[in-house]
Structures are given as structure tokens and as C-alpha cells.
Amino acid sequence: MHPHEILMAALGQCLAAFTGEMHAGLAPLFAWAGGAGLGGDPGLRDRLLGVVLNRDVFGYIVRTFLILLPAGLGVYLMLPRGLPSKQPQYRRVGAALAAFSLVLICVWPVSEKISGGAPRTVLWLLSGWGGSAEFYLLGIVSLASAVLTITSRNPVYSALWFSLVLLANAGLYLIQHAEFLAAATAIVYAGAILVTFLFVLMLAQPQGAASYDRVSREPFLACLTGLLLAGVLLGTIHYSTSVEAIPNAAKQSVRPTAALARTQMTTARETSALVDYAQPHVANLGKSLFQEHFVSIEIVGVLLLAAVVGAMLIAGHTSESPR
Amino acid sequence: MKPDDRNIKWVVEPQLGLAGRMYLTPFIDGLTTTARHFFSTVAGGQMTRQFPEERPEFGNPLIYRGVHRLNKDEQGRVKCVACFLCATACPAHCIDIIGAEAPWNDREKYPLSFVIDELRCIYCGMCEEACPVDAVELTTLFDLTGASREEMIFDKEKLLSVYDQTIAQEPMRSRGGSGAFPRMPAKGA
């Protein structure tokens, strides 16, 4: 099949899924439109409709694709593509598309059957806005700066946006009571690794953008790959964590709350390691780290030592190497 | 430079003791020195000169190079003969002279305008050295301030007024005293 036809078919499927979820009445129309791209094969059309309406995992994935499509397009537009001079309109359009996609991820309503009646979205802490505002803020900051990291023409800006990603992630860790990890991320990643890379960057490219920073390798294929990966990942996540999609037998294995987990689903050893937020956090983390994962700690220590020795060996020869 | 030159004094680095090699004694020495100065100052000991209230004393005002002045002769006329030697000698090109026919008999020319840009001047004293009649001299006025660049460009009247201000404390440095330029034979004479 010609790639063009595949694309048309995929678009049709997306449209079908989109409308099938929200406006079941319009679905056949769009499904037909999608099917028309395949030559009007009624059997295929029916299968598509079945996929969409049955809400199996493929349906979730298709809908996720639809949500992510503007983001993929936006990232493609924002990536440096060797355009003659600064062409901010491309970046602006791309940024608008990506932001639109982000908004879709945030506010796209889940069907009432899945959410159990309450108006809920794909990305929504069910406790309501009170508990989720921080998550929204940090998550959006993290994702937006991630997009800017990979699309900035100036690598220094890339590094800075990545530091913002790290800080937002540290905030996300804090929400999940991973205080030590948050501080460690800030110290190790943002404070040491990234600064060292900024160091090299400023020594290597004091002028900022170089010619190879203004072009990308195969931006379209890269974005397509990313779109596929993200679609499959998010669709699967969405499908597997929605209650309706899980059969009754498997529903038992979903642990709705930590309290339930404590009573029902854990072995004795896990119970001892359960997080009690009233206790000092770091002490318990350390206990768990050095009692249950002691060998791993040693191995990581050896790894770090090997990395340091290796780095010195590699970088120590720079002065002798031919230029 | 020859190592066995008599005039070179070779300083041998002091050998540091055990504590010195660990920076301990130098650090403690430094701390005690500063503490001693701190407390002696607090107690009202020796202090630097409090400048605007206390004026500095010059060891030898004759070799101090401050603001210029234009000297006058006994009759109160400007001594300068507009020979342009100072302007030529000036490495900073800060002297601007316009000469004119002298209205007096004892010289041919006199400066119609004599301007020194005190901001451009580097106070090297070359003009003083170059002057054949000891007309331009550097005084001990050192705290020269002004609110604008224009104010710091001294013209003839200002330079003469510097002479009036400073002549009491600083007599002319001229060797002969009269300082009159030996009269040239008049034109055509």
C-alpha cells in the first residue's frame, strides 16, 4: 500500500474514534469518510467501527493518537529545520499546536461510563482541583520545557529548559512524598551534571547556535516515531488504568487505596516496607535502601568508581590526540 | 640580568615549619595582625589621614605634579611667549595655544589663548620641562574636581588665577628668578 493511503486510513480511523467516543451519531459518517480512503470497503469499515465502539485497547490508542497528533505536528514544526533565518511563525504555530494537545490531554473528558458518572478527564486527579493543581502546574511545566529542550536552537537554552524539566520533576516527586529523591535530583542532576555540561557547552560553543544546531536529522520521521510510541504508551496506560476496561476478575488486583493495599494485597515483607508518611521519611528510605538493597548499593558504588576511572582515562588523553 | 650582580639582593624564601606547611601559622599570623590593628584603631590609635579635614603634607612641593598654573612676571603679565614647546612636548595633546603678536616690547609673541584640558592631561610634567621661560608650572593642587567636562578645561584666565592662588605658598621654581626670555633682536634691526 502506498504510504499516502496508509496515512489517509489512519486519519480516517482517528476521526472515527474521535467522533465515536463523543458523538456516536456522527460516527458512521466519519467512519465512512475514513473507509472511503481505503476504497469504500464495507467490511473494513465495519471492523473500524467495531474497534472504535467496543473501546478495546486499540480504540484507546487511536483516541490517544488523535489527542497527540497536534503535539507531534507541533514538535515537528518547532524542531530546527535549517530554515533561512529566524522564522518564528513556524515555531509559534508549532507551539500553539503542542499547547493545544497539552490542553487536550488535560481536559479531554473521559466517557461517563469509564469515570463512573462524574465529569472526569484523561489527566485528572479525582480528588478534585484542590489536590491536583500542583500536579497540573508541575506536569505542564515539565512537558512544556521538555518540548522546548528538544526544539531550542541554542544548546545553552536547551540545557536551561532541561533544568526546568528537572525542577518540575523534583516538584512531582515532592507531591509523591519522595523528598529525598527530589533533593537528590536537584543536587545531582541540576546542580552538578547539568552545570558541568553547561560548562563544556560554553567552552565549546561560546557563540551559541552553530550550523548543525539549526538542522535536525529526519525531523519528520523522528516525530512520527515519537507519535507512535506516545500513542501506544498513553493509550495503553489509559486503557489499563480505567476500571471499566479491566475485567471483573482482574479488578481485584487493582489496589484502589494504600490502606486497602496494606490490609489485603501485601506480603509480610512488603508490609514492613510500606510507607508511613508520619514517620521520618529519609530515615526509612535509608533503612530500606541499606537493608534490602545493600548489594545493589555496593554495585552502584563500584559502577560509579568505574565511571570515574573510565572518564579520567578517556578524557585524560585529549591533549595528546591529533586534532 | 646577571645572577652575580652586586646590586641584586637575593631573597631566600623562608623555609616553612611543619605548621607553616599546613597554612596554620600563616593563617594565625594573619588573624592576629588584623585583630591587633582592629583593636588599636578602635582604641583610637594610629589612623590614616582624614583627608578633607586634614590636608596632606608634601615632602618636597617642588617636585609634586598637580594642577598647572601660568606664571606671571613682575609686571603681572603672563610669562608665556607662545613658543608652542609645551604643546609639542605634551604626550597627551592637551595643551592648545593660540599665539599672537605681543603688545609688549620684550617678546615677539604672547598667547592669545592658552588652554589645558585637565582631564586629558596625564600630569607628566613634560610641559614644565619644555618651557624655556618657566611660564607653565605644576602646582601641588591635587584635588581637582568639577561638575562637567567643560569646567575642567582651563583657559588662560583660570591658569593665571591658579598662579594667584598658589604663589604665596609655592614660589616660582624658575632658576633665574626674572625668567624673562632673552630678547631677540627685533625684526629688521
Partner: protein, 390 residues
């Protein structure tokens, strides 16, 4: 909790801390100038107000009113972002500095005099935020489009990243002794044991002081901005309030280090004899005032010590700086850590005397070792071939 408790109380605390901090910085600059003047047999600022007491206000006005210059070719966004980021990180570090909490009147809800109380990683938080301060320096250096600034920024980033390691190592001993990273707990542990950790952690304190000096770029370690080589280092091109922000951040770093050293090694608000006022977790108004006063006095003394050091010692050379970090301070920090861990493992929890003896033995061992084997500071003096006077 009521809404006002959730929102208003932290806001008030933040306002108090930031206001006190800026005022303290302004007057500490005056104190430093006075101290420097006395050390150099001068009088210091004495023109604005009695004894120069209004000098900080005049300085502040000058900072605000001077011309803002953005150099040609500078990256404007980052150039403006750098001072903001460095000042922000320097200020945020104070979020977990505790001043204790008190019950304003009997039966009332206790008020914690900390912006972010109950953060379990208090000490780690300060380090994390402090490590982000490097960005301001690096960005300021790079965005200025000036060689001097770039060199200053590079130097300083290497210095700050290097000295973070001994700084982190040195406080682990304190964490082991107190069993917590919370600064309240660390102070309580010292108050309960009656020992200040300086007695038990002399090596750790030495490493902490040196690394803290280096982290706040105070004079023996002010390589990033040494005037003789780099004009002004990373803030060469900064003018007016942007430069003022750098100066403020520098002093805030100093105050942070002083606070940390007092809290970690000098018992925080604990003083023998004042225990009746400050005992227990919940104290009244007087107790809280005494605590804050004791803490403030200790911190002030610490800052004066830093100032004294600044005007007494010359600057390290850059290779000496790195040597001190990697070859002296990190091994010392590791040694301190090992000694503390061994003592913690094998000694009774309240056997402070043995710990003290062990720690000072370790110091003695280090001194002995350095005296016998150190050649860090004594390079072979270079002499000309011909002997001077034969």
C-alpha cells in the same frame, strides 16, 4: 485549618524573613565596611548619618538610580535572568531555617517560625537550593558576552561544584549524631545532650567552614570575581540593581552558611544556663524571643568571624583552590564520616566523651600526617643557577 492559616500565615512569615534578610544584608555590608576599615586603620563610612548609619540606604538608592547597561551582543534574556535566579535561590534557602515555634498565649495553637516547617530533608533542601545558585553565576558569565565574565563564570562553576562534595560530606557526621536532617531535631539533640557538636565534630566543622567559605565565594576563595585577574568575574558587566542583586545574593549565602554552622555545630539556640527559657518544644513568648536572640547573636558572631577571615588572609591560587578541595577537604570529610560512623555504630548512644576523644584524636592524626607528609604548600623554591653571593 482555616484558609488564613494556609495562605496568610506563610505569607506573613515570608514577608518577615525577606524583610529581615534584606535589612540584615544592608547593615551587614555596613558592618563589614566598618570592620575592614578598622582593620586597615581607617574609619570607614562616616559621612551619611551618624557613624555612617544611613550609608546602606544611600547605597541602596544608588543601586536603584544608576544607569542600567546591557552590553552589546549580550543574551538579553539570560543576562536579566541570571541575577534574579541567583537572588531567588539564595533567598529560598531560608525557607527551612528554623527559629523554633512558640505558643503565643496559653492554649493557643503553636506558631512555627519557619516558612516551610516539617520538611524532613531540611538540610538537604538548603544544599539543593544552594546548588542551583550556580546557574546565576554561570549564566551571568556567559550571557554578558565578555571574556572576563565567561572566565569568572567557568571558574566559579567549577569551584562551586567541587566544594559541594566536601560540604555534603562534612555534615553527614552531624546527621549521624542527631539522627535527622531536620534542623530543629539537630538543635534539640544538642540541647538534650548538653554538648555542642563542634566538640564532637571538629574535623567536620573545619571542612564545613572551608567549604562554606568557598561556596559563598568569600575572600580566601573568591576566585570567581577576583579583581586583579578578572576585573569583576561573572558580574563584570552588571550595573545598578542587577549588580545589587548579585551583591545581595552573595551576602545571603554568607548568612546561610553562618546559620548552618551555628545550627549544626554551635547548638543553635541552646546556651547553658538559659535552658529554663528554651526548654521543651513549646515555649511562650519570652522563650521564643530568647531563642531568636541567642540564634541571632551566634550568627552575628559567626559572620564577624567570616569578615575577620576575609580581611586577614590572601586569596588562594586557582590550582591551590582545587587541590584543597579534592586532595585535602574530601579525604578529611571522608575520614570524619568514617570516624563518626564507627563511633555511632560501636559506642553507646550517650557516650559523648569517647566520641569527643575519638574525634580530636582524628584531628591530631590529621595534623601529624599533614606535618610529616604534606608538601602541598611547600614547593621547591626556584633559585637561579649561579649562587647569589657565593
Amino acid at each position: 485549618m482555616d484558609a488564613w492559616q494556609v495562605w496568610l500565615e506563610p505569607l506573613i512569615k515570608i514577608a518577615i524573613v525577606i524583610g529581615a534578610l534584606q535589612g540584615a544584608v544592608a547593615y551587614l555590608i555596613l558592618v563589614e565596611r566598618k570592620a575592614a576599615a578598622y582593620i586597615q586603620d581607617r574609619l570607614g563610612p562616616n559621612r551619611v548619618g551618624p557613624w555612617g548609619l544611613l550609608q546602606p540606604i544611600a547605597d541602596g538608592a544608588k543601586f536603584l538610580l544608576k544607569e542600567e547597561i546591557i552590553p552589546a551582543g549580550a543574551d538579553k534574556v539570560l543576562f536579566l535572568l541570571a541575577p534574579v535566579s541567583i537572588l531567588a535561590t539564595a533567598t529560598v534557602a531560608f525557607a527551612t531555617i528554623p527559629f523554633g515555634y512558640f505558643v503565643p498565649w496559653p492554649g493557643a495553637r503553636p506558631i512555627e517560625l519557619t516558612i516551610a516547617p516539617g520538611l524532613d530533608i531540611g538540610l538537604l533542601f538548603v544544599f539543593a537550593v544552594g546548588s542551583l545558585g550556580v546557574y546565576g553565576v554561570v549564566l551571568g558569565g556567559w550571557a554578558s558576552n565578555s571574556k572576563y565574565s565567561l572566565l569568572g563564570g567557568l571558574r566559579s562553576s567549577a569551584q562551586l561544584v567541587s566544594y559541594e562534595i566536601p560540604l555534603g560530606l562534612s555534615v553527614i557526621g552531624v546527621m549521624l549524631l542527631s539522627g535527622s536532617m531536620r534542623m530543629e531535631t539537630i538543635m534539640t539533640a544538642q540541647a538534650q545532650s548538653g554538648w555542642w557538636w563542634i566538640a564532637l565534630q571538629p574535623l567536620g566543622f573545619a571542612v564545613f567552614m572551608v567549604s562554606g567559605c568557598a561556596e559563598s565565594a568569600r575572600l580566601p576563595f573568591d576566585l570567581p570575581e577576583c579583581e586583579q585577574e578578572l576585573v569583576g568575574g561573572y558580574h563584570t558587566e552588571y550595573t545598578a540593581m542587577k549588580f545589587g542583586m548579585f551583591a545581595l545574593a552573595e551576602y545571603q549565602h554568607l548568612i546561610t552558611v553562618a546559620f548552618l554552622s551555628v545550627i549544626l555545630y554551635f547548638g543553635g539556640w541552646h546556651v547553658w544556663g538559659l535552658a529554663p527559657f528554651t526548654e521543651g518544644n513549646q515555649v511562650g513568648l519570652i522563650g521564643a524571643a530568647v531563642r531568636v536572640a541567642v540564634l541571632a547573636i551566634k550568627v552575628l558572631l559567626m559572620i564577624l568571624l567570616f569578615m575577620w577571615i576575609r580581611w586577614s588572609w590572601p586569596r588562594f591560587r586557582y590550582d591551590q583552590l582545587m587541590t584543597v578541595a579534592w586532595k585535602v577537604m574530601i579525604p578529611l570529610g571522608l575520614l570524619n564520616l568514617v570516624v563518626s560512623a564507627v563511633a555511632q555504630e560501636f559506642l553507646a548512644p550517650n557516650d559523648y566523651m569517647t566520641r569527643c576523644v575519638l574525634a580530636w584524636l582524628a584531628v591530631g592524626g590529621c595534623v601529624l600526617y599533614a606535618a610529616l607528609f604534606s608538601n602541598v604548600a611547600a614547593p621547591e623554591p626556584k633559585r637561579p643557577q649561579a649562587s647569589p653571593q657565593a
